[in-house]
């Protein structure tokens, strides 16, 4: 948006309004799950498995129960009495709540201790004695598919191997033919390691079952409260939990990034404990539990091939991937997409032939496959295409920017149907890359690099020109456990012209209380300061699928605009009644209706709101409110071009990101300040897996990156001062032309950094390096190439 249409007082779209949620956060008055204290509340702590795969011989709670304050020890046997020891995952797989026979990964929940105090609960955990009989461990997903591998899911009667699913997209034959005919073919193995979102607030809940009314209230760190309510009702209906008596409250959430979409065993055990004991039960995991047992992201072993002509015209893409899901497919993808939206892997390029396949595999690791601040496997797809593009550029001795420019989908081809079936809504890829190159001073950087190289210094420039696919999604394709992925908004305009707007999503820091208010302000002319936004309480908010996959603005934001437009239609009729004219004679400008040709005759939205309750036309219903359940016609396709500049220390192998230029295009912008903040945060979460983060396992299935000592989050020292800019290509199908933006940078940044590191070392024949590009990995490369100092 260039110039805002509304005044700073109204603060509609395009204004950098200061956030409405901040006054409580800067005073320490946020209300997070662990801040909730209820009378008589008990505490829960969890006994976890030290083994990656073992039979449970016995669980002895005797010593624990002797500790004053320990009230109960819950095991799989306890839950089995209620048939609650297993639960479905969001991918219609099954997962243990607590085991009755064997454990399947290190840190798996084995038993839960309920006590009067959190310290006593921890004492109880120490005192529970569990005897295990270790079983053979499957760590390597490739070996998991070997016919000699032990079958892990013995609970599934017909399961004869460790394969979870096979997924494929594209025309294999046509792609193979294009490869056979190509001048140049490049191939590259790449591994996108297992990582964890590690929001600074861990997961937890307070489950409060009221025995008198039969009502269950759960304060819960969840990004999708409504879906959780329905899942609870479906899974625990047989023990008397009925959906109208389940209330999920998602209070302030300390970061989500996809990690707070799944339902973890801890939540279910706390609910069961509260139902059985009749008192509120609080469970808050610690950081190591969070990193070791909550759903991980990525873990994709990719083999990518790209075919092209001699002059660098891309002809075909072929990808084969093995996805390690741990012991259960606990991804949070739309039901019909076991590999998420990986089929966006043709990226920003006009590739007419493509074939991609993914096989999901069970191993003895924590279950998952969720997103790490991205829309369902989009980061994996983007990393793959952006890395293999650079491999091709190196093979052809072409500048990577030139190769990209040559192959971009031309702006005039939008809407564009991709080879793997998506209809890209809008884009102007050359403009974004040109802008990034101008800001970075690309030509000067190349000159600097050549000079440094001559002096023996290692500097690299990396480009990533990504296309995302966000805002799931159209109900004909998108559902989670059958629940269609629409989203919702309900607006009530009060008699004094102020409004309440409730949404089916749930902010975890994105600033919905501000941006949603600005959408309503834009559409109705009611100042954003007078629009109270609420979400996260299933008793009051309309049903929606929640906030993840950059879907809030594309779906719920759109619902906000549509509900406001319904209100505006009614307001028009009321205004016509008040002005004694035909509705057709009225013109709208933000905040008022005016009679055509009579500028002095007008009614403001505030006057109309008052009339809706005090002087509404006969035959019309009183009040001024509307609900919209918005089913998007398509997804939105944000894009951008990023340029990273890195320096490599030849003594230590350390990679320093000296500059990072990010040009993003998310269509029309609601709040430029908040969009920039989303980009900044996404960039840091893109730098993180590129340089630092990995959860790895030893051959016995022991986690070797399960604490903040080993799993390194970027600090202010590793992150550069981000250089951001925008191009604006509105989405043609979204009500106000916006696209999702919260995850673009997480998706786009890792290949820019990886490409920069390879670029710094390309002159000595380095063609690829897997992320995270740690000092050790780089130092070994330098040593191998004779560059280490």
């Amino acid at each position: 948006m260039s110039t805002p249409r509304t005044s700073p007082e109204v603060c509609g779209m395009g204004h950098s309004m200061k956030r409405k949620e901040d006054p409580r956060f800067i005073r320490g008055k946020g209300n997070y799950v662990d801040d909730i204290q209820l009378p008589g509340m008990l505490h829960m702590d969890i006994v976890r498995s030290p083994y990656a795969h073992a039979k449970i011989k016995s669980i002895n709670a005797e010593r624990a129960l002797k500790i004053p304050g320990v009230l109960a020890v819950i095991t799989g046997e306890t839950l089995a009495k209620y048939n609650l020891h297993w639960m479905p995952t969001l991918m219609s797989d099954t997962q243990m709540v607590l085991p009755t026979e064997k454990v399947m990964y290190q840190a798996q929940e084995v038993a839960a201790v309920i006590a009067t105090d959190r310290y006593v609960a921890a004492d109880g955990v120490e005192a529970v004695e569990v005897e295990y009989d270790p079983l053979p461990v499957v760590v390597d997903p490739f070996k998991a598919l070997d016919p000699s591998a032990p079958i892990l899911r013995t609970d599934k009667k017909d399961k004869k191997d460790n394969r979870i699913f096979h997924w494929q997209a594209g025309d294999r034959e046509a792609t193979d033919k294009a490869f056979a005919e190509a001048d140049v073919v490049v191939a590259q193995d790449m591994y996108l390691p297992r990582i964890h979102v590690a929001s600074i607030e861990t997961c937890g809940c307070v489950a409060d079952f009221d025995r008198v009314n039969g009502k269950l209230t759960v304060y819960m760190t969840t990004q999708a409260p409504h879906a959780v309510r329905t899942v609870f009702a479906l899974v625990a209906g047989h023990v008397g939990l009925s959906e109208e008596k389940i209330r999920i409250i998602s209070p302030d959430i300390g970061g989500g990034f996809g990690g707070k979409v799944p339902v973890y065993p801890g939540y279910v055990i706390a609910v069961a404990a509260s139902v059985v004991i009749g008192k509120p039960v609080k469970w808050v995991e610690d950081r190591m539990e969070n990193l070791q047992a909550d759903s991980f992201a990525r873990d994709y072993h990719i083999h990518a091939e790209l075919a092209a002509t001699k002059d660098g015209t891309m002809k075909a893409l072929r990808i084969k991937t093995l996805a390690d899901h741990g012991y259960a497919d606990a991804a949070a993808n739309p039901s019909k997409f076991p590999a998420g939206l990986f089929s966006i892997c043709t990226g920003s390029y006009d590739l007419r032939n493509a074939f991609a396949e993914v096989d999901g595999v069970y191993t003895n690791k924590a279950p998952g496959g969720i997103a790490y601040r991205c829309s369902f496997r989009v980061t994996e797809a983007v990393h793959c295409i952006e890395r293999i593009t650079d491999v091709l550029a190196q093979q052809l001795k072409m500048d990577p920017a030139e190769l990209r420019m040559k192959n971009f989908i031309p702006p005039e081809k939008f809407p564009y149907k991709s080879a793997l079936g998506w209809e890209y809504d809008s884009g102007n890829y050359p403009a974004a890359l040109r802008k990034a190159m101008d800001i970075a001073g690309y030509e000067a950087l190349r000159k600097e690099q050549a000079e440094k190289r001559a002096r023996g210094e290692l500097m690299g420039i990396g480009i990533s020109s990504f296309t995302e696919i966000v805002g799931a999604g159209p109900s004909k394709q998108f559902d989670i456990l059958g629940l269609k992925m629409f989203d919702s908004c309900e607006i009530r305009v009060h008699p004094t012209g102020k409004a309440m707007a409730r949404f089916g999503t749930k902010s975890q820091g994105q600033g919905h209380e501000t941006t949603y208010a600005q959408i309503v302000a834009e559409e109705l002319g009611i100042p954003a300061a007078h629009v109270q936004v609420e979400e996260g309480d299933t008793d009051t908010a309309p049903y929606g699928l929640g906030t993840y996959a950059s879907r809030s603005t594309p779906t719920a934001g759109a619902a906000g605009a549509m509900a406001a437009r319904k209100i505006r239609e009614k307001a028009k009729k009321i205004a016509a009644h008040l002005l004694e004219c035909s509705p057709d004679d009225l013109v709208w400008e933000p905040g008022k209706f005016t009679v055509k040709g009579a500028p002095s005759r007008s009614k403001t939205i505030q006057e109309i709101a008052l009339a809706a309750y005090t002087n509404h036309p006969q035959g019309m219903e009183a009040g001024l409110e509307a609900v919209s359940y918005y089913d998007p016609p398509n997804l939105t396709f944000p894009f951008g071009s990023y340029i990273a500049v890195v320096d490599i220390d030849r003594g230590t192998g350390a990679v320093k990101v000296r500059r990072f230029v990010a040009v993003d295009d998310c269509g029309n912008i609601i709040n430029p300040m908040i969009v920039d903040g989303q980009i900044h945060g996404g960039l840091a979460m893109g730098l993180a897996p590129a340089l630092l983060e990995e959860i790895s396992y030893d051959e016995n299935g022991n986690i070797t990156g399960g604490s903040f000592m080993d799993y390194l989050l970027p600090t202010a020292m590793e992150t550069p001062s981000w250089e951001t800019a925008k191009t604006v290509t509105p989405s043609p199908h979204h009500p106000f032309g916006a696209k999702g933006v919260g995850e673009s940078a997480t998706v786009g940044a890792p290949p820019a950094i990886a490409n920069a590191v390879v670029d710094a070392l390309s002159h000595v024949g380095v063609r690829h390096v897997d992320i995270p590009v740690t000092p050790e990995k780089v130092w070994r490369l330098l040593k191998e190439k004779g560059l280490a100092e």
Partner: protein
């Protein structure tokens, strides 16, 4: 478990308390005194969400026993606003969009206050180093750095 009588001042208010030997300062603040603005993010001294000032110095309250704070002056985020007026650091974080989910924010604010108490005009590298013990997953740090620079300017003008 042995219990100890301790006396400390929290945000200027004297507190006489009896605590278990093992009670952490962060739990004393959050649960005994219900000052829930100080958050827990890792309980292993890495994330800094629990940062408070102990006799003016930033400390991670998940790694200090309540008994170690006996006799000390503790300042938490709840004490920053005085007589209905926000502290310049609070104002600057709001103005510069230095927070998103708000979870690391109290720790960042306290670390920022401690830095500006000892250095009226810190450089960007000095700010980055000062907050390097405080993890933020949302903001990418740039706006936090800008907020602390802006707060420094506001404080110098006071």
């Amino acid at each position: 478990m042995a219990r100890h009588d301790i006396h400390l001042t929290v945000n200027g208010v004297a507190q006489d308390l009896q605590v278990e030997s093992r009670l952490l300062l962060v739990h004393l603040l959050r649960e005994n005194l219900r000052l829930t603005g100080t958050h827990i993010g890792c309980d292993t001294t890495h994330c800094g969400a629990c940062t408070v000032l102990l006799d003016g110095e930033p400390v991670k309250s998940c790694t200090i026993l309540a008994v170690q704070a006996d006799g000390a002056r503790i300042a938490t985020v709840e004490g920053l606003e005085q007589n209905g007026k926000l502290h310049p650091v609070q104002e600057a974080f709001w103005e510069k969009h230095g927070l998103q989910c708000g979870y690391c924010t109290p720790g960042m604010l306290m670390t920022g206050c401690a830095l500006l108490a000892r250095n009226k005009d810190p450089t960007e590298p000095e700010i980055r180093e000062a907050i390097s013990g405080n993890l933020c997953r949302c903001t990418g740090y740039s706006n936090i750095v800008k907020a602390i620079q802006s707060a420094a300017e506001r404080l110098r003008q006071q």
